[in-house]
């Protein structure tokens, strides 16, 4: 569905089955409405992606008359997994769109992973699929701190309760018949203590299905209980060993490489739309290590020209320059990091000094102002 969301654009023609309520008026004036299933062809005007249920709502005008509908009427099609639909692109299929389709049809089953990122009193439950990270639930509770002798019970009790709530939430989300890895990550010992709690509770209540999942739990380290710590989790060796070669692991690694390159500050890393465009123009994103990182959100632009600009940039790097292009999913943590950098970044084959020099000239004035206010 995520692919469909990336694929379907404003102005495309979409054909899918739909259920529409049809109201008929009889000769006596009484109305009766019936629901009919029909196949509609619409011209897309609006897209809405429901991340939780993985449904795509597409609304647009009907362009093909049927028995029940007139031309130009509006309809919203709900696209779901295992429902057929066909797309017709107004201006033909570009390379990026074709790649999306190719990737979507990749038979390698995407490895889904559950992740629980926690710290005392805070946990985030998320599911990582091949192309998306979906935050399913956030648990937040106050856990009193340790204080004085004899009051320790408060803290331990609250922590126990917090574990129980997190566990209940996890079990509600989890399908125990599936065999998916479950990452538990936290700073300190929280994740370990949580796993212990889960297994003890499972043993006590005789939850065999849960106990069978024992080998699926992976305890790892993260700096905090926030979702963006997932980056760090995906880098730890024990996690990498299990998730090697999944798309998100690759993306995370790529983003880290880029960050490290940027921190080296030798001019071989560029980010932001203008900077990257310049770099591509100068031929720095080419054969022998040039990698263009681009977030798929850029292709989702409603403006056809903007989209075309990015597509041509990608084509240029790939075909003329011979560099590598990686499209990162904007819902993954790595993609979000990329979005923070403007949605596009590039690792260059040769250093380009002072990429930002041009902009600086314009900025002298506002900076002067800021200082003026300060002093």
């Amino acid at each position: 569905m995520w692919f469909a969301y990336n694929l379907i654009r404003h102005g495309d023609l979409l054909k899918a089955s739909a259920i529409r309520r049809v109201t008929t008026e009889s000769s006596t004036g009484s109305t009766s409405s019936t629901r009919v299933q029909l196949t509609l062809l619409i011209s897309v005007e609006k897209l809405d992606f429901d991340a939780q249920s993985a449904q795509l709502h597409v609304s647009g005008r009907i362009v093909e008359e049927t028995k029940y509908t007139k031309l130009g009427q509006f309809h919203t099609l709900d696209l779901e997994l295992n429902r057929n639909f066909s797309i017709e692109k107004k201006e033909g299929w570009d390379s990026v769109a074709k790649n999306f389709v190719k990737e979507a049809c990749d038979p390698v089953k995407s490895a889904d992973v559950w992740a629980v990122i926690m710290q005392e009193g805070l946990s985030h439950l998320a599911i990582l699929t091949g192309h998306r990270t979906v935050l399913r639930q956030k648990v937040e509770m106050t856990v009193p701190k340790k204080r004085g002798t004899g009051r320790q019970g408060n803290h331990d009790k609250a922590l126990e309760k917090f574990f129980q709530v997190t566990m209940d939430t996890l079990l509600r989300q989890l399908d125990l018949t599936e065999n998916k890895p479950i990452l538990l990550a936290s700073p300190g010992f929280v994740a370990q203590a949580f796993l212990k709690h889960v297994l003890e509770t499972a043993t006590r209540t005789g939850n065999k299905a849960l106990l069978a999942q024992k080998s699926n739990f992976v305890v790892s380290h993260s700096a905090s209980g926030y979702l963006h710590s997932l980056n760090e989790v995906l880098q730890t060796p024990e996690v990498l060993a299990r998730l090697k070669d999944t798309k998100y692991a690759r993306e995370t690694r790529l983003m880290n490489d880029f960050m490290n390159l940027l921190f080296k500050d030798d001019g071989k890393a560029a980010y932001g739309p203008d900077e990257v465009e310049q770099a591509v123009e100068k031929g720095a994103v080419g054969r022998g290590g040039g990698i263009l990182l681009i977030s798929d959100s850029l292709f989702r632009s409603q403006d056809v020209d903007v989209r075309r600009k990015w597509v041509s940039l990608v084509d240029k790097v790939r075909e003329t320059e011979g560099g590598e292009v990686r499209v990162l999913s904007s819902t993954h943590e790595s993609g979000k990091r990329l979005e923070g950098l403007g949605g596009i970044a590039a690792m260059l084959t040769f250093p380009l000094e002072y990429l930002d020099e041009d902009e600086e000239e314009e900025d002298v004035m506002p900076n002067g102002d800021i200082n003026g206010i300060k002093s």
Partner: protein, 583 residues
């Protein structure tokens, strides 16, 4: 458990004097509906037998019924015998023997006793009931007492004190908070445990207990640290996890220790503690190899953190010198390196003080070192250095600001209590306060300063506020309590002047301010600044290198209470990337 203890503690002979009925233990604390019905019926029957006896409350009858498993005869017996208890012991023995005969009705004797009883139980009578009933009753008594108190409390009347004048009048001792920082396993907790022990804040018996328990876990050397590390997890692992607060007083200053965890995972906790500190004690492990690894690790990070949180003065305790035979060379080497580093971090060299010590043995902590090898050190022990800290001026006049450190249930009377340190302003019982960012108002019904009940508190004190008229769901640690007249602003985007510890660019980070922490992003790099003058040297930098200063915009998902001048810490991936000042 407690009940069994009570049973054991009671004199058995006295027990037997009192009754002949078999004592059946009651394990159930819950009263089921069925039981309640039986209790009700039983109470009616007992009342019938005893006649209209004003001296017997329903409660008493029910308790005894419960105890005797609804055996009416035994209950009546017991109740009567209890009434006779206020008589001298000798006659009571006889009466208890023929208690059965009295079950028919009150005897003339009883009437007299009844009159005595109604006046209120004599101390003796209060002592007499059977052990389970006793514990029940005493608990009930307390609960009754509490409910009475509560009724009085529902209307809080503030005294409308002029807190500042009160504060002037009270001529307080100098109060100082200090945070103990250093690399993991430098011996911070042990050093502080020793300090408290030598100052007799912790008695020998407690320490012996800790020693025994820690030895059982195979961690004998951790006994002193256990004085501060109270958590189960902390003790099992031998690592401090959360800040421990402890108090001690010297002749002219009362100190609050904030013992910070050294492990890098718990730096958020350390930040929370350090934000409440006036000065810092940096503990350094002098043993070979450990000092070097510490300097690269948290010794450095902690020192930078406390500096960026506004701590000026730092006492450096070079610990574990006993393991290197009190080598003066080692001490000098370490102090040189550390002092070079600290001055480069922005501490003035006159604000640094070094002391060689050994936490485990207690040398140079409270007393001078006994070891002749340590005689080269002429200076005072650690505690005297602490005392020489100058009193800090506090923002008493400014509006109230209190960052919530912890939320808990402060006893039976107080269902909702918060603790923290008053950053500025003052507060007294009866004040209405606003909790930000929830924007919920509550009232203060009770107040504790340093765990002692008080009427008011001023900036710089560690307080516990007992709140009422507010639900616990509106509170979380890191929230700010402020007066409704001058609420703190909550922002989702703010500009900070940041000193970068690591590379800073457009990235995700966590924003820490004291106990407050929130996920955020650096969304804009406005300008790189000159370190000394603060003037912009480069607009829109692509990257901020470690050690440089820049002005950046930070966005957070949910509004956070922040004011200009507030000091924030940015962390990413388990590392502190920068410290900033909100503009």
């Amino acid at each position: 458990m407690s009940r069994h203890k009570l049973v054991k503690a009671l004199d058995l002979d006295e027990e037997l004097d009192d009754f002949d009925g078999g004592i059946k233990p009651d394990y159930d604390d819950e009263v089921s509906a069925e039981d309640k019905e039986q209790l009700r019926l039983g109470t009616i029957k007992v009342r019938d037998i005893l006649g209209e006896d004003a001296g017997m409350t329903d409660k008493k009858i029910e308790d005894s019924l419960w105890h005797y498993y609804y055996d009416i005869d035994k209950t009546v017996n017991y109740l009567l015998s209890q009434k006779t208890n206020s008589q001298p012991k000798k006659s009571k023995k006889k009466k208890a023997g023929d208690g059965e005969a009295k079950a028919t009705g009150p005897s003339p004797d009883d009437i007299v006793i009844k009159a005595q009883n109604t006046k209120g139980p004599t101390p003796k009578a209060a002592k007499q009931p059977t052990p389970p009933a006793k514990s029940n009753k005493s608990v009930n008594g307390v609960i009754q007492g509490v409910s009475e108190v509560n009724i009085e409390d529902t209307k809080i009347r503030g005294k409308n004190l002029d807190v500042l004048a009160e504060f002037e009048r009270s001529k307080p001792k100098n109060a100082a908070n200090f945070v103990v920082i250093g690399h993991v396993d430098a011996g911070k907790s042990t050093l502080m445990g020793r300090l408290l022990y030598d100052l007799k804040v912790v008695d020998q018996r407690t320490l012996d207990k800790y020693r025994k328990e820690s030895e059982r876990l195979g961690k004998g050397s951790f006994a002193l640290a256990w004085v501060l590390d109270q958590g189960t997890e902390e003790r099992n692992r031998g690592v401090t996890i959360d800040i421990a607060m402890n108090k001690f007083e010297t002749e002219n200053t009362s100190f609050t220790i904030l013992d910070a965890p050294g492990h890098r995972d718990f730096i958020p906790n350390m930040i929370a503690g350090a934000s409440q500190a006036d000065f810092a004690v940096l503990v350094i492990d002098a043993s070979t190899g450990n000092f070097e690894s510490g300097l690269k690790g948290q010794t450095k990070e902690h020192a930078l953190l406390v500096r960026s949180m506004g701590v000026q003065r730092i006492v450096i305790a070079i610990n574990k010198l006993d393991t290197v035979q009190w080598s003066q060379d080692r001490f000098n080497e370490i102090s040189q390196q550390v002092s070079a580093f600290l001055t480069s971090a922005g501490f003035l060299s006159r604000n640094l003080a070094f002391v060689p010590c050994a936490g485990l043995t207690g040398d140079n902590i409270v007393r001078k070192a006994d070891d002749p090898k340590a005689s080269w050190y002429p200076g005072p022990p650690l505690v005297s250095l602490l005392e020489s800290s100058k009193p800090v001026t506090r923002a008493l006049e400014k509006p109230l600001r209190l960052t919530i450190d912890d939320i808990f249930r402060g006893g039976i009377q107080n269902s909702l209590s918060v603790s923290g340190r008053l950053d500025s302003g003052n507060v007294q019982i009866g004040d209405t306060v606003l909790v930000m960012p929830a924007k919920e108002a509550g009232a203060i019904k009770g107040l504790e300063v340093d765990s002692e009940p008080a009427e008011w508190a001023v900036a710089g004190q560690n307080v516990i506020l007992h709140l009422t008229e507010i639900d616990t769901k509106y509170l979380k640690s890191g929230d700010v309590i402020c007066p409704p007249s001058a609420p703190i602003q909550c922002v989702t985007s703010f500009t900070i002047k940041v000193l970068a510890f690591e590379h800073v660019t457009l990235m995700h980070c966590e924003v820490h301010k004291g106990t407050l922490h929130a996920p955020g992003r650096v969304t804009q790099l406005i300008a790189q600044l000159d370190k000394a003058s603060g003037a912009a040297v480069k607009g829109k930098p692509r990257l901020i290198k470690p050690g440089s200063v820049a002005r950046v915009v930070v966005e957070v998902d949910d509004p956070v209470p922040l004011e200009p001048g507030g000091r924030v810490i940015l962390r990413a991936g388990g590392e502190t990337v920068g410290a900033g000042l909100v503009e």
